[in-house]
Amino acid sequence: MENNHKSSEVLPDNYNYYGTRPQGGFQDREVKKPPSIRAEKARTMYLETKSSASVEFPYWYTRRWEELEGEIPIIRRAEALKSGFAHLTPAVLPGELLAMRKANYLRGSYPMPWLSEAFFLSKEDDLYKEAQKAGKASADEATTMGQGGGNVTESSGNVISIAGKFGLRKEEMPILIKTAKRWLNRSVDDVGHKYEQLVPGYDTKEEIMRAVICMFDSGYTLPQGREVINYYYPLQYGIEGIKKICRENQANVAGFPEMDRLYFYKGVHTMLEGLQTWILNYSKEAHLMASLENDQVQKSEYLEIADRLERLSESRPDTFHDALQLVWIFHVAVLNEDAISGLSPGRLGQVLYPYWKQDMNKGILTREKTIELLECMRVKFTEIDCFASMGVVGGVLSGNTFNNLCIGGLDKEGNSAANELEMLILESAISCDTPQPTLSLLFDEKLPEEFLLKGVECTKIGTGYPAWVNNRVAMEFLLNNFRKEGMQSEEARAWAIGGCLETSPGSWMPLELNGETYFIPGGSAPATSVGVHFISLPKVLEAVLFDGLDKRTGRRVYPPHGVELDTYEKIWTIFKHYFSLTVEVLTLTNNIQHDIWGKVSPSLINSMLKPDCLATGKDISHKGSRYNRTFNVEICGGVNLANSLSSLKKNVFDEKTMTLDVLRTAIESNFGYLSALDTGAYSLTDQVKSADYKAWLRIHKLCLDAPKYGNDDKYADDIFREWQLWFSKMCENYKSLYDEPLYSCQISVSTHAPMGAVTLATPDGRLCGTTFADGSVSAYPGSDKNGPYALFNSATCYNHALSQNSQLNMKIHPSVVMGREGSRKFLEMIKAYLRKGAFHAQFNIVDSRMLRDAQKNPADYRGLMVRVAGFTQYWVELGKQIQDEVIARTEYEQLG
């Protein structure tokens, strides 16, 4: 029989605290600054707006695509994009300083059936039922979507809810179904699926997906993103200038070998014509809004927008405001090309600095106006939604789109690149706190202290940005991986974070402005995180312990290993075998998906922007980018794996306190607790005992008490290091589509929730269905007992430059970092960690009791944001699985 006793018999009262558990009422974050009135109005409107999907872009895209049956795919694609852009309904809102958005709605997005057509079809439709049969639907089932904020979680009135997030007008559903059906057997998903089945072991891949050992496919879900955009060409040449480059190159290559270059240039030219119409439609709309406006200030602002857009539809910008508008236009344009998460603006403050400095010197711009513009930019980035399935948008992205803006780092010569505009970017992120763009501070010893303290001031507002990232570790990783393609130290300095935490190569391009030349950084690689998207390590271990089965469903995932697991080494060996098998089959199938994507639906807009596609006439799928070794293997649950191996080794083999059979039965019995899926609570502390919990109490306690990662405990850390070293090396055994070895990537995004949801209890004492530890080097909530410096020692027990990233989340009580003294202590702690060779740390400065209150009273916390894993999101838009995990994270009440 169920009782209400929680896990307190095995967990101490202060389980989730380091230091003294705080008493009294909960503490709010340190004082914040208000945004400008304009930005506040825009943000308020955003907060009152629901995520909305429309059909007009896919409708016109598809209509044009069909007209061109038989045409060369890249030209067909260009014409379809041109038609889609040219037909987007423009919307200019009162008070906007930066115009244009993805679709007509404020949080607008739309399905992209050319990538995948099945998942958004109505549940009654046969196609939908077909889609549900496939293994890939399992991730959707394991995901909980945030129930508040801008999510349209239920259909009502004339609005249909799709994927628990997007609202679609009911009258658009029939044409959406019709449009989707046109892509049956033609979308990247369908064509890719046809060919991926030719990979030996494909059945295993399907079972891996069904078991949610892998979270999602790569080629048709989010084929682009996790990369840094490059704004150089539009800024340097303007749209007409780029068209001229295309025409000249067309003439140079027409009739010569490598004819694909001809079609690429023609395609880019065509696509740009569509962008010009799109921009001019907005200009016309701004004129219309001006004609209906009585307020003279607002009227002139509409007219300025109209003029600016008309100028930018052809010419390069020469002011800060124009440059920022053009940057925004191209950012949105790329996002409309494919389903994309993690298209990062990169080092935007350094890209725009020449314009800003010249405007300031001319006296045509002030700091106040700059901050207002930057605040408006923040709201615009926050508006970005990505239309995808529930598993992707909820389970992976938590509704976030990961537009990461980087500050700091080094310039081309190796000096500090931090500038005054970046100080204002920090200031605007403090005054107008929004999830997007998130900030990453590229830490280097050469950065001025004043800049670092400004970063700390921003981190202390509690939104989790900037994340602190180690410039030197990233450069080492890049030089290790891209030297073969010609990367030298100078160019390694141009890097930035793409997406939430993906180290991405960049380059310096010469921007000319009023007779001066500035070398500006920008991304120079395609998506740096494609390939194998999130392997659940605890779930692989579960299969090892249960002879290849997904014990939750009883389905066979891997061939039975048939090995008697009578030594720790045998468990580790079988784990490596199953993991390798997973990486192999997923690499091959995803290579096919990406090949199909490049063949039937190649990128034109992003390709045009990325050096050196325009110079070589090759798109990003044909290695047109300067750097192309960009496929990776992403994992999730590494710390739970290490803790579980530690428990197995200690309890079963070293001290023999239990047999493996007993442990297996305990796991199947969930150590005497109800499943989190039944209780709806996803952290360890909130689990509910079943009637026979006493039978498993001793075993559970032994598992919980086994050495844990995060305590500077050699026993657990050695296991963690062994995994890390093996993993980063084994990735190189697999080749990407571009014949380059893969590298390891260690971010969890939100996958630790759905992947935890389908995983039984684990040997470390974690219970069935509960969320895994986030990130890659964050301790499992409550298990780090020895303070931050012990955690840092554990986290840096291996070389972080072996991987594209590492990720550490910490939760600190606001009182600990109060005031200037608190800031200095905090900065010293961050520096101490990064100096040990760590790659990344980010912080939630928050009182956990406030989060509990927010869970009970979401209506009082519409604007509350937390850091999840590489991104910041509104609390109310997070699923409960993630909310519980963030609440459960160890709260540090002291830094020493």
Binding site: T49, Y59, G157, E171, N281, M289
Partner: protein, 78 residues
Amino acid sequence: MKHYDCKYYLSTDVFKGICKRDKKFINADDDACENYMNAQKCKYCSNFTLTSDELGTCMNKYEAYPEMNAVTCNDFKN
């Protein structure tokens, strides 16, 4: 007649929007006011033929739907 069909309706999401004339927030499906004018939508275009409640054809050639915004369509004819 609903705001949703009006030329002055500027939708911010699927439920609501702003009147371009007085900038007030309005619900898409509420009744329109006396300033109502037909929005440029396919259903008001002479190239459009309704074939069912929510679908039709454009120029007897393309599938189309009555509620589609057509402010950007060069072939729109009253």
